[in-house]
């Protein structure tokens, strides 16, 4: 294994086909699993306490506890994948390795762990737990505090992860109608499940490698989606951040927000005219297309700066090629399906839901990156890439809304790839 590779890796071998009947009844079918998982969670909770003391003393978890907790994590991944419609078949009850299309590779042997990291593990895990809750930590046990007025104090198991839940909700409808899960939603759900597994492995002392939010690393086994006409480009390795502009990022944003507000008013008026024109002509007028392209690109520059996904102060014009995190948009107005144009607002609702979930992820990343960048002068690689994913999706949604393309936003966390031309065996003309 590559030493730089995270020891907790997601393996996805799902063919996207879904059984309409089991999708429809999924929550009901999962009831036995909920009961079983609840019991197992209690045992895992107690085991994790013993494991913590043992690891603190010996520097490595006892083998039997390691195996038990690995099985628990693997089972939670299978169950989460089933619930979030990331996989189709009914999962087994024992978290057996290799038995489920969405599986997780965990260290086979207990690993040596730094003692001080073990001591303060629960504190160190807070950012990862928060991100896990935003992305899709999967189901697990959580302590739920309550006040005196009637509510109980207890540990309960619950499903978390705004992104995975939104994808599951949308995927439920799509699977019922199509009999297959849309790939973007499946990938986003799998990403949440995979990250949740890493968080759990870190919190339960399976590994002391911090969870990695980088989508490309997490979804290594997943095939990239086709190239989208709206995509984010830039130097992903440009992680340097100016501490000064990081500290004053919010006040520095305010003039831009005022400008964005003023520009939005004009852009909305242009968009309304553009909508009528596109409906009539089947293609947006070039002047409107260019104006709205600039606006959508400007939004991306601004959000990248605000979320610390990029370092420099952006310009006010949304000109292409001026910002390190830039947006590629169709240069010329494209022919668009009139039906899609007519119902664009209704069609956008699912994309907005996914966009809302990713906005939370973007905000959370920005919050943690702010502290990290202030101390180290650079942005964490994983969070930067998660931010780029969120920004890409939001830009695709804005471009779709602004009639710059009629290609629907792709929710996959992976960058699109140019489809390889089909290999055609040429038969010799003469024998």
């Amino acid at each position: 294994m590559d030493p730089h590779e995270h020891p907790v890796r997601l393996a996805v071998e799902d063919d996207l086909q879904r059984s309409r009947l089991t999708v429809f009844l999924r929550l009901i079918l999962a009831i036995p699993h909920f009961i079983w998982f609840g019991l197992w969670s209690i045992a895992a909770f107690l085991a994790s306490i013993v494991n913590w003391f043992a690891t603190l003393v010996t520097g490595r978890p006892p083998s039997w506890l390691h195996r038990f907790l690995c099985a628990y994590i693997r089972y939670s991944v299978h169950l989460s994948a089933y619930l979030y419609l990331t996989a189709n078949p009914y999962p087994g009850f024992f978290g057996t390795h290799g038995e489920y299309p969405v599986d997780v590779d965990l260290p086979s042997e207990p690993q040596l762990q730094t003692r001080w990291k073990t001591l303060v593990r629960i504190i160190l895990a807070i950012p990862a737990l928060v991100l896990g809750a935003v992305l899709g930590g999967g189901i697990g046990f959580w302590y739920t505090g309550g006040g005196r007025s009637g509510s109980r104090r207890n540990s309960s198991f619950s499903s978390g992860g705004f992104l995975a839940v939104v994808c599951a909700f949308l995927g439920w409808w799509a699977s019922l109608f199509l009999g297959r899960m849309p790939r973007g939603l499946r990938d986003a759900g799998a990403y949440g499940v995979g990250y949740g597994a890493q968080v759990r492995a870190y919190a339960l002392l399976i590994t002391d490698r911090y969870p990695n939010t980088d989508p490309t690393a997490l979804l290594e086994s997943v095939q990239p989606p086709p190239l989208h006409p709206v995509r984010v480009v830039g130097d992903a390795h440009d992680l340097r951040r100016s501490r000064l502009t990081v500290f004053f990022r919010l006040p520095l944003l305010i003039p831009h927000l005022v400008w964005l507000y003023l520009w939005s008013i004009v852009a909305l008026l242009v968009l309304i005219l553009d909508w009528f024109a596109t409906l009539a002509r089947g293609r947006p007028p070039r002047a409107f297309h260019r104006f709205l392209s600039r606006f959508v690109r400007y939004e991306l520059h601004l959000y990248a700066f605000g979320s610390l996904a990029a370092n420099p102060f952006p310009g006010f014009t949304g000109a292409p090629g001026t910002y390190p995190l830039d947006l590629v948009l169709p240069e010329e107005p494209q022919r668009q399906n009139r039906w899609k144009t007519l119902f664009r607002l209704f069609l956008l609702v699912p994309a907005w839901l996914v966009g809302a979930a990713l906005s939370y992820a973007l905000f959370t990343c920005a919050f943690f990156t702010w502290f990290v960048a202030l101390v180290t002068g650079s942005a964490p690689w994983g969070m930067r890439n998660l931010s780029a994913y969120a920004l890409r999706y939001l830009a695709q949604t804005n471009a779709y809304f602004s009639l710059l393309t009629d290609r629907y936003p792709h929710a996959s966390p992976l960058e699109g790839e140019e489809a390889e031309p089909e290999h055609v065996e040429l038969e010799p003309a003469y024998t």
């Binding site: 502009t245 500290f247 003039p255 520059h301 420099p312 102060f313």
Partner: protein, 390 residues
């Protein structure tokens, strides 16, 4: 060179004449009687006011020196932050300007916190949250204004036909914005209506009919007049309507503020602003010429430093003008109310309530006092009383 001298020979007298026209007032040629402050204020009040004002003066001095040092260093080394921008020349200039202000804010932060502590020490209001986090957010509002100003200046300077003469166009634009702000701001402030029997009587005497509004959320006694034409308003801060201030004192305060409006002080202050704006903009253009002029972002750190230094240099003159307006408003209030006793009590109360030093040192008077001192204001009430007595 000859053209410049000729231009100066025309413009300087024009400036002086305009200044003289704006200076003219309804104040009589008066000579204030000299009063002994020990006879007007108790030793305790005097001691507290002097100690408090002394501390405030020191803080101002430290803050001003810090500001100049920070901006001086920023003028020298601030250019290095151009690499943090992908915003083109004007946007980069904006970023540099904002960074300059942000650094000043950070350097002044300890003094702001110290100031709150000092105020609390003397039983006055002040919020640590406002002084730190609140001001951090307020920076954003400052940044917006700064960006607008730099967009105008740099935008004009980058027009090839205008170039270094941007100041000739920028100054009128800023005056226009100042007029717009003065016109619009009263509507943004809100407040609740103020009703008192004496309002109509004072409005009749001052020949000004404007809405009087009360602003809540303040902990200090204050009032001000603002607006132009239809937007003219008088605003009273809630504490001045509460004890220990009496209705007679409030009547005097209201008459003072109506006096500002009756004598067109808002318009006159805009006139003075215009008189200062032209030379100020010209000197900035002159100072930044060696850095490539205001069209390039590299000139912005120096421009900000020059602007702050010139503002500081102009402060004594601006305070002279402001004190003149305030004296005229006091005189107007005395004539409208015929109540010098109320005025005298009011000013005496200010010493104990706001801890203003009744008789500050000369440099404080020159740089910090935009109102006549409390002693001068009390002396004016005495002068009025003496002038009215048969």
């Amino acid at each position: 060179m000859t053209r410049r001298i000729a231009a100066a020979a025309v413009l300087v007298p024009v400036w002086v004449v305009a200044g003289w026209l704006l200076w003219r007032s309804s104040l009589p040629a008066y000579h204030l009687p000299h009063l002994n402050e020990a006879a007007l204020f108790s030793p305790h009040v005097l001691h507290r006011a002097r100690r408090f004002s002394g501390g405030e003066r020191l803080l101002w001095l430290a803050q001003t020196i810090t500001q100049l040092v920070v901006l001086g260093l920023f003028a020298l080394y601030g250019v290095r932050w151009t690499r943090e921008s992908a915003a083109g020349p004007v946007g980069t200039g904006m970023l540099l300007g904002m960074i300059g202000f942000a650094l000043v804010w950070a350097a002044e932060l300890p003094f702001a916190v110290l100031d709150v502590w000092w105020r609390h020490h003397y039983g006055l209001s002040g919020s640590y949250v406002q002084a730190t986090i609140g001001n951090w957010f307020a920076l954003g509002v400052q940044f917006v204004l700064l960006c607008v100003a730099l967009a105008i200046v740099m935008g004009l300077a980058r027009v090839r036909r205008i170039g270094d003469r941007w100041w000739l166009l920028a100054a009128p634009v800023f005056v226009g914005l100042r007029i717009l702000l003065a016109f619009v701001s009263p509507w943004l402030l809100g407040g609740s209506a103020f009703h008192a029997r004496y309002v109509a009587q004072l409005e009749r005497r001052e020949q000004v009919h404007v809405p009087v509004r009360v602003l809540s959320g303040f902990s200090e006694p204050n009032a001000f007049a603002t607006g132009l034409g239809g937007s003219r308003r008088v605003f009273l801060w809630r504490p001045i309507l509460e004890r220990p201030f009496t209705p007679r004192m409030d009547r005097f305060v209201l008459a003072h503020e109506l006096g500002h409006l009756a004598h067109n002080h808002i318009w006159k202050s805009i006139g003075w602003y215009a008189l200062f704006a032209f030379p100020l903009a010209f000197l900035i253009a002159l100072a930044t010429r060696r850095r490539g002029g205001m069209g390039v972002p590299e000139a912005v750190p120096l421009a900000i430093f020059v602007y702050v230094v010139l503002q500081l240099a102009a402060l004594p003159l601006q305070n002279v003008v402001s004190r003149h307006f305030e004296a005229e408003a006091d005189w107007s209030a005395l004539r409208a109310t015929h109540d010098p006793v109320a005025g005298r009590r009011l000013f005496r109360l200010f010493a104990s309530q706001t801890l203003d030093d009744p008789n500050p040192p000369w440099w404080d008077y020159v740089f910090l006092e935009n109102h006549p001192t409390l002693m001068q204001r009390i002396e004016m009430t005495r002068y009025y009383a003496a002038a009215q007595s048969p």
